[in-house]
Symmetry: C2
Subunit: 301 residues, 2 copies
């Protein structure tokens, strides 16, 4: 039973409510990503292809903090992180501190399939991207005026960063294999070289057919300490919890006990989907062969 779920980040809401039309833009972007991933699943493609396709759409969409539209670091740069994992084989790939690769998720997949390693960071990862002939862009390609304003505002006010906009996807394909992918620009004003949960296998991203595929979003430093993504999967494998029970526990007990805010999306081999968060909102969408099709932002869709 094929299914795909995506997120566009968990976080707090902007203080000034945007006009209603703005939300329609987010919904349309989430729908485009869901459709891209689901269409692949529907014609028999792998869950790995589906999650990569969905995340690529979200990376190109400037509304989300991944690829184009990534936040600015303390130094006024962009440093992108991404990961993918294949639940059938437990193969995984991850990249961090990427400044010039248009689709970090595609680079993470190449790392998984062709580097002999699981994780590459910085200039070494970019040089591998060039060898693999992935699309290279100038660093300012990722710039958006909204993110620059956020960065300048944060610098002046010394406010803590608003964490939001990481993107991710989880899917199960017609062969019952699950996969997960996550991509992010990190947090506004982050220190150069900071790596959050997104590219850490077991924290922001994990997939195993024996459990489920998981992509996390939110306060990365807490999601790492909670090993949030693996934990959802491990509770299914070790405690025989359902994907809903496991995701609920990890977010509302484990992450919450640490004082962290965020969310996870997860899907198991049977196509059961969980979308859990303890932040104010989580941009998310789900589509399943059983007929479920939703896009939501708030606690109640």
């Amino acid at each position: 039973m094929i299914a795909i779920a995506i997120h566009g980040g968990a976080g707090s809401l902007p203080k000034a409510a945007p006009d209603p039309g703005a939300w329609e833009g987010y919904r349309a972007a989430l729908d485009a990503a869901l459709t891209a991933g689901y269409a692949l699943l529907a014609r028999g493609a792998s869950s790995l292809d589906a999650v990569e396709a969905a995340v690529r759409v979200l990376e190109d969409e400037p509304r989300f903090n991944a690829g184009r539209g990534a936040v600015f670091t303390a130094d006024g740069e962009h440093e992108l992180d991404a990961a993918v994992m294949d639940g059938a084989t437990l193969a995984a790939g991850a990249v961090a501190n990427i400044r010039c690769v248009r689709h970090p998720v595609a680079l993470a997949r190449r790392v998984m399939e062709r580097s002999g390693h699981v994780m590459l960071a910085g200039p070494g990862a970019e040089s591998f991207a060039r060898e693999q002939q992935l699309e290279i862009v100038a660093p300012h390609w990722f710039d958006t005026e909204e993110r620059r304003t956020e960065w300048l505002t944060q610098r002046q006010s010394a406010q803590p960063a608003r964490e939001s906009g990481t993107v991710g996807a989880v899917a199960v394909d017609s062969e019952g294999n699950v996969a997960a992918a996550t991509s992010t620009g990190g947090t506004t004003g982050k220190r150069a070289g900071r790596i959050g949960d997104t590219p850490l296998i077991g924290s922001g991203t994990y997939a195993a057919n024996a459990g489920c595929a998981v992509s996390a979003t939110g306060q990365g430093e807490y999601l790492i300490r909670a090993t949030a993504a693996r934990e959802v999967c491990a509770r299914m494998e070790l405690l025989r919890e359902s994907v809903s029970q496991a995701a609920h526990h990890v977010i509302h007990s484990r992450l919450a006990a640490l004082g962290g805010r965020g969310g996870v999306i997860a899907v198991d081999r049977a196509g059961a989907v969980a979308l859990e968060f303890n932040s104010e909102c989580m941009f998310r969408g789900v589509r399943t062969a059983a007929g479920r099709r939703e896009i939501a932002v708030w606690g109640l869709a």
Copy 2:
């Protein structure tokens, strides 16, 4: 009941057996690290202080692949990774791709305590080290002739890297708090920017009082996919396994099922210690208030 365990890497043995005197050097180095950590515990210091002290000794020891004596990358450089985790608070710190900081484990601890982040990599991490006034060394400080020869031999023969020499420590202090630390130069001939399991919280390093403190070593790409360190801890928390049962399962079932080779050391709040590996050897040592004091390399000490 205070206890400390350390490792100097799991891996395969050199084809040519070194002379018996060479092993005495390894034993003396492991003993010096154990003694440094245990002495702190014995006078009431925290497990965090003890594991950092033990790992610093091993980082300075050229026989092990961490700090001085680190392996060479494909580009003939050194890129060092390290992590620490405090089982009492689940605070964690990690660094990757470090080229000029004498004690990467000390930098990981500063990241944990003073950066507001969990993980920093590359030049951003090094700039934080300078701010924190940690000891900076020239990159060639890490060079040893033995590692250079290994690198040159590997380049000529295109052999897969011998994985060995990562160092780590786990301890429980007189207040019953556990902590873990791990430090490595990675694998000989690794691609620039490669990050292995060592600095990934949940893979190479994890600690939680509710379970145990764990430091892993071996084939990093497999330990990551197994989330080896968290898994030992999670099996204690979720399945109520003993530290020995949990470590045994993670190495001999979970890691082995992936085709990976390596080992873990772990200690729980009661001072129970596990030292498990499925590689040919693991340099290791343990000392407990209950009177256990061992240093070993082979399967049978």
